[in-house]
């Protein structure tokens, strides 16, 4: 280990050696003191980073523990198979909300995936062009927009003119969140594909577009799948864009044109009530939602590791 042994200031007494003993001794004493102080500072600060790491993981463990304790207690078969009951009546479930979240994610993916992957292809292949720089920057900006803004945007464009809430409006709001995530993931994965692969395909007589789609895109696919799954995990847990678009629905519905329930919205509505049954259902819903997000995230990691060995974080 290269810990502090000498420092630039130590070279001074060496030059002064022999001129005056007391000076040298004093200087030596002071450097020993400085050295001790520096070592103490080093130890304290290094330990503090350990402490930071421990503190940072505590909230996560606390949240997971609470979810399992309180949510686990109210999860049962009915929770996954029934629709909500009025307050005061025990039982009931959030089956419609789970399905609703699935429908919303599906709509968002159908719209967001082609756009994201297409834009990602463009960014990777026209890397240096001015438009690519602008689009890349704006996609990061879009990614940073508050989701509630996307919600009121979708409301103003898709709900207000038609005078009723719809799953489609919610799905489009979620798609707007998904596009920048998929775009950047696609771009990064395609950049990892070796140029030689593209050149080989072109040399064999493939046209550019076939090279892009059936060689480059295919090679980058596992990484893109990962990026997509990360995006899905993120939008599946979103509430704010849905509040005024998908709106929620206490009954079964899978129609894109009707208001639809979603698990995160259901948790929000239940959490704000004074009814114990609903609050415990909120915990159970949160546990299911976290489970869903975790499974998708783990699947994303697994997709990265499989096959081509391309990708990574």
């Amino acid at each position: 280990m290269i810990m502090a042994t000498t420092s630039s200031s130590v070279s001074v007494p060496k030059k002064a050696a022999g001129t005056s003993r007391p000076y040298r001794d004093a200087l030596a004493a002071s450097t020993a003191k400085t050295l001790r102080r520096r070592r103490v500072v080093n130890r304290v600060m290094v330990s503090l980073t350990y402490v930071a790491a421990i503190i940072a993981t505590i909230p996560l463990l606390l949240i997971l523990a609470q979810l399992i304790k309180r949510g686990g207690a109210s999860i049962n078969w009915a929770f996954f198979t029934q629709t909500p009951r009025p307050p005061g009546e025990p039982g009931g479930g959030v089956a419609n909300a789970i399905v609703g979240t699935g429908v919303l994610v599906l709509i968002a993916s159908l719209i967001g995936l082609p756009i994201g992957i297409g834009a990602g292809l463009y960014l990777a292949e026209q890397r240096g062009s001015r438009l690519a720089t602008v689009v890349r920057f704006l996609s990061d900006v879009l990614n940073g927009l508050p989701s509630i803004v996307l919600g009121i945007f979708a409301w103003h464009m898709l709900v207000r003119p038609f005078k009723h809430f719809s799953a489609l409006a919610g799905g489009i709001a979620l798609a707007a969140m998904m596009v920048p995530l998929v775009t950047r993931a696609t771009e990064e994965m395609i950049r990892l594909v070796p140029v030689s692969l593209r050149e080989a395909a072109l040399a064999l007589g493939y046209t550019k577009w076939r090279t892009s789609l059936s060689v480059v895109l295919r090679t980058a696919l596992p990484g893109i799948v990962t990026g997509t799954l990360v995006a899905v995990a993120r939008i599946a847990g979103e509430t704010a864009p849905l509040l005024f678009t998908a709106f929620g629905n206490p009954y079964w519905s899978v129609s894109p044109m009707q208001p639809i329930a979603a698990l995160p919205m259901q948790i929000y509505n239940y959490a704000n009530t004074p009814y114990d049954e609903w609050v415990s259902q909120a915990w159970a819903g949160a546990l299911v939602l976290i489970g869903l997000v975790l499974v998708i995230s783990l699947a994303a990691r697994w997709a990265t590791r499989s096959r081509f060995g391309l990708g990574g974080d």
Binding site: A4, I63, A119, Y122, V179, W209
Partner: protein, 321 residues
């Protein structure tokens, strides 16, 4: 991988770059890429157009006055603007040292076996949906703050008379919102900081150590200055997240339309104002006022994100990464 079929190589496919297929492909991907700027413009345009009536009616006083009276049609969003800024600042003050500490730990000091698990756990914080944070915040964190943190600060530390901690201890407060936000933005700041630290060249570290620096001095004098603008970029990115965070804040901030210097007092944020009142807004002016708040949020996060991205990009470019 996909071996070229003989059909592709047999010569009936034109090889020049300007074949119809290539052109179609180029136009298609360009079209998809153009969706992003168009979408952003559309969002800005729609939200501004919808908020314009309120902005025109109240002018600049919309953001500087604090009367929010839907019945009489008076709207001033100052408390929400103030609450957004204060809760985000509290979050940054708590999260920044922690996040940078974690990043330094992970990139410099952590033993190999613990690096992956800790990084995974911190990343996981970013995967937890906002509403779950809100649920935990309202049912666990807020009662804890009310029962332990607030009495401790007020009575044990005798800080109850300071304006910053005055007033009754309800629980839902700016402080609670700041705490939740701190947990939520920590993974973003730490991920970017780690990325930036990894981009600092090895030679920078080795040179410092060779000069006799302790490991901390190496970090402090040689690594952090090199990574500074990238880390600041990460912090500002976290700020952007905090400013726009909706659900968790709505659930713990107390939703009261008042200006108060006390962190322990309930407040409002711009995002939670929209989330809370939008579906109940009856008059057109009320809807427009909420849209105007959204427009303000749009502009602020746009600027904050642009600055952050620019800073991170600049550090990345310095390393040629």
């Amino acid at each position: 991988m996909t071996p070229p079929t003989s059909a592709a190589a047999s010569g009936d496919v034109p090889i020049e770059g300007s074949s119809a297929g290539d052109r179609a492909y180029r136009w298609t991907t360009t079209g998809f890429a153009l969706v992003i700027p168009i979408l952003l413009l559309l969002i800005g345009w729609e939200v501004f157009a919808a908020g314009w009536p309120a902005l025109k009616t109240f002018g600049i006083s919309f953001f500087t006055t604090s009367q929010w009276d839907a019945v009489n049609g008076r709207f001033g969003a100052a408390p929400a603007v103030f609450g957004t800024i204060v809760s985000s600042l509290v979050a940054l003050i708590i999260a920044t040292p922690l996040a940078v500490g974690v990043a330094i730990f992970l990139s410099e000091f952590a033993p190999r076996w613990i690096r992956q698990p800790i990084a995974f756990l911190v990343d996981l914080l970013a995967a937890i949906p906002s509403v779950v944070y809100g649920l935990w915040g309202i049912l666990v964190l807020v009662p804890f703050i009310r029962a332990h943190v607030m009495p401790f600060v007020k009575e044990t530390l005798h800080l109850g008379n300071f304006a910053l901690f005055s007033g009754p201890a309800y629980g839902p407060s700016m402080f609670a919102a700041g705490c939740i936000l701190a947990i939520m933005i920590l993974p973003y700041i730490s991920a970017i900081t780690r990325e930036v630290l990894l981009a600092v060249p090895r030679s920078q570290r080795e040179a410092a150590l060779a000069l006799g620096a302790t490991r901390w001095e190496m970090i402090w004098d040689a690594v952090l200055p090199y990574a500074r603008s990238g880390i600041i970029g990460g912090v500002i990115l976290g700020l952007g997240r905090a400013l726009g965070e909706t659900m968790a804040v709505t659930m713990v901030i107390g939703n009261r339309h008042e200006l108060s210097a006390s962190l322990f007092a309930p407040g409002y944020s711009m995002a939670s104002l929209i989330a809370n009142e939008f579906s109940e807004a009856t008059s057109d002016l009320h809807v427009s006022a909420l849209m105007a708040v959204g427009a303000g949020l749009f502009v602020v996060t746009l600027i904050v994100n642009a600055i952050a991205r620019w800073l991170v990009w600049r550090t990345g470019r310095a390393q040629g990464a």
